[in-house]
């Protein structure tokens, strides 16, 4: 299941304002095709909003969003549909449709495209097997544990062979063992598909086993963008305090 051509994503001078409050402050970000980028930072720093802007779910108040060089800023839902067809997203609280079974949930993006039922069922089975949940098609989301729901979410996000996958807190609330298994899964997936990956996470250590580049967001601004390896040596004091987990420093609780 290889992506056709991994997508490139760019944010140019993006700011987002909610009710006059500045949530993202002039963010510039370029994600190369096939890259794996992690977005980290303290709580309420604007990480989730950043991901939603990338998905086109939140329109920036200022600045542009470019996907594969096309400016898609503020596009209507109808125009965004073909673009979104190439993007997969895992939501923070899984966002599984609670009125559909696991199988229907995972196959949902394919039903939209009018693919034949038999083929959908086959691909759903494949994806569920890949995330380690084979045979659970008939269950309802309410019958699954948190980790299982996250895996169903990943299956749904990746079933249409997307060229860009966004993960909003893929391991939040999971125990360490399940967390490792999750990143194993993501690594396998992306090794095989070559799709671009952008993952937001509060669990920096585990995230660094998957991504090569890191963006540190604090109070809506990107304080660091670069290889994960040099994160700890960043010149910015805010970043250093966060990485060390220290209590004293410029980071405001």
């Amino acid at each position: 299941m290889t992506a056709a051509a991994p997508a490139k994503l760019e944010l140019r001078d993006v700011s987002v304002r909610f009710d006059g409050r500045l949530v993202l402050d002039h963010v510039d970000l370029t994600v190369a095709p096939g890259a794996r980028v992690g977005v980290i930072g303290p709580a309420a720093s604007g990480k989730s909003v950043l991901v939603k802007v990338m998905a086109g779910l939140v329109a920036p108040s200022e600045g542009r969003l470019l996907i594969d060089g096309h400016d898609v800023t503020g596009w209507s839902e109808e125009r965004m549909a073909p673009v979104r067809a190439r993007i997969g997203m895992l939501f923070q609280n899984y966002a599984l449709y609670d009125f559909l079974t696991v199988g229907d949930n995972v196959g949902f993006p394919l039903v939209r495209r009018g693919e034949p039922e038999g083929q959908i069922a086959r691909r759903v089975g494949e994806r569920l097997r890949a995330v380690g949940l084979a045979g659970n098609e008939a269950k309802l989301p309410s019958q699954l544990s948190g980790g299982m729901k996250k895996r169903v979410g990943i299956a749904r996000a990746t079933i249409a062979a997307p060229e860009l996958v966004l993960y909003d807190e893929p391991t939040a609330g999971l125990d360490p063992v399940t967390t490792s298994k999750m990143y194993d899964l993501l690594r396998d997936d992306h090794d095989r598909s070559g799709a671009t990956a952008i993952a937001v996470s509060s669990d920096v250590t585990a995230l660094l086993t998957f991504v090569e580049t890191v963006v540190f967001v604090y109070q809506g601004r990107a304080h660091y963008q670069g290889p994960a390896a040099t994160l700890a040596d960043a010149p910015d004091p805010v970043v250093r305090q966060f990485v060390r987990g220290a209590l004293d420093g410029p980071l405001v609780g």
Binding site: A55, F91, A95, L96, D98, F108, R112
Partner: protein, 274 residues
């Protein structure tokens, strides 16, 4: 509002802000209505994304579960209305022969659809807002958008169509029950002969049309207002609660406002002879 405000703006600017907010909400609401109708058109043209059999399912949810509720409430209020009316008629005119004929005229052209819709505004309105609201708050609505599905098409259109059909159906049932209950009360409490009471001679085509028009309008307004409130839900359980509250109030008020507008319109059109 939950967070304490350090400095309260003066009443005038609050009024202005409230007014602006109201206008903005009104515009958004209108857009939702347009969007829903556009969604219906899209549905006929393409066979677009919609859960299989959603319309029928929604009709079942709305109709079946509200039937008993509507029947009970309209039955009781029918009895009360006739009781009060008979009381007044005997005080003022002393002749109860007109009660039945006037009553059915009012039921068909107003009370049947309106009271049914008021009841549905609470039941169905709260239900729709709660469902769509919790979907919004758990990001399921965003997930739909990511799959290229318009939330209005998927969530609102089936409920809209189901509500219009079911409101009309329930209004007819409700009206019948009101009529029956009223006649029973008139007979038991005031000795009015059922044959005199159950006399349809005053009911004309225009009353039926007005009543139907009202039922259709109410059936359209309730899901649009409630869906709108649901889609605006923010936060978590608190947001869903707010959305449901707003939906009930908004839908009920919409019913009353539409009733007033349509009644006055009809009165004006028919030159005062309703």
């Amino acid at each position: 509002m939950s967070a304490p405000v350090s400095r309260r703006p003066d009443p005038v600017s609050r009024l202005g802000a409230g007014g602006l907010g109201g206008v903005r909400a009104g515009v958004e609401l209108w857009l939702v209505l347009i969007g829903t109708i556009a969604g219906i058109v899209r549905m006929f043209r393409r066979g677009a994304a919609r859960p299989k059999g959603a319309i029928v399912e929604q009709m079942w949810v709305i109709g079946n579960r509200s039937l008993l509720f509507v029947a009970v409430t309209l039955g009781f209020i029918g009895m009360v209305m006739i009781y009060q009316a008979c009381l007044q008629f005997s005080r003022a005119i002393g002749d109860l022969s007109q009660v039945g004929t006037q009553f059915i005229r009012l039921i068909v052209s107003d009370f049947g659809p309106t009271l049914t819709a008021m009841m549905l505004a609470t039941r169905v309105g709260a239900g729709i807002a709660a469902e769509i609201g919790s979907m919004k708050v758990t990001e399921q609505v965003d997930a739909l958008r990511m799959s290229g599905v318009l939330p209005i098409d998927y969530l609102l259109v089936p409920r809209f169509l189901a509500s219009v059909v079911m409101t009309v159906a329930l209004a007819i049932v409700g009206a019948a029950i009101m009529y029956a209950a009223g006649g029973l009360t008139a007979y038991l409490s005031f000795g009015v002969n059922p044959r005199i009471f159950y006399d349809l001679q005053m009911v004309e085509g225009k009353h039926l049309i007005l009543g139907l028009l009202k039922a259709v309008s109410y059936g359209a307004a309730i899901p649009v207002v409630s869906g709108f409130c649901g889609l605006r839900a923010r936060g978590s359980s608190e947001g869903v609660g707010w959305a449901t509250t707003a939906a009930v109030v908004g839908s009920s008020f919409a019913v009353i406002a539409l009733d007033f507008a349509l009644s006055v319109g009809a009165l004006w059109l028919l030159g005062g002879d309703l």
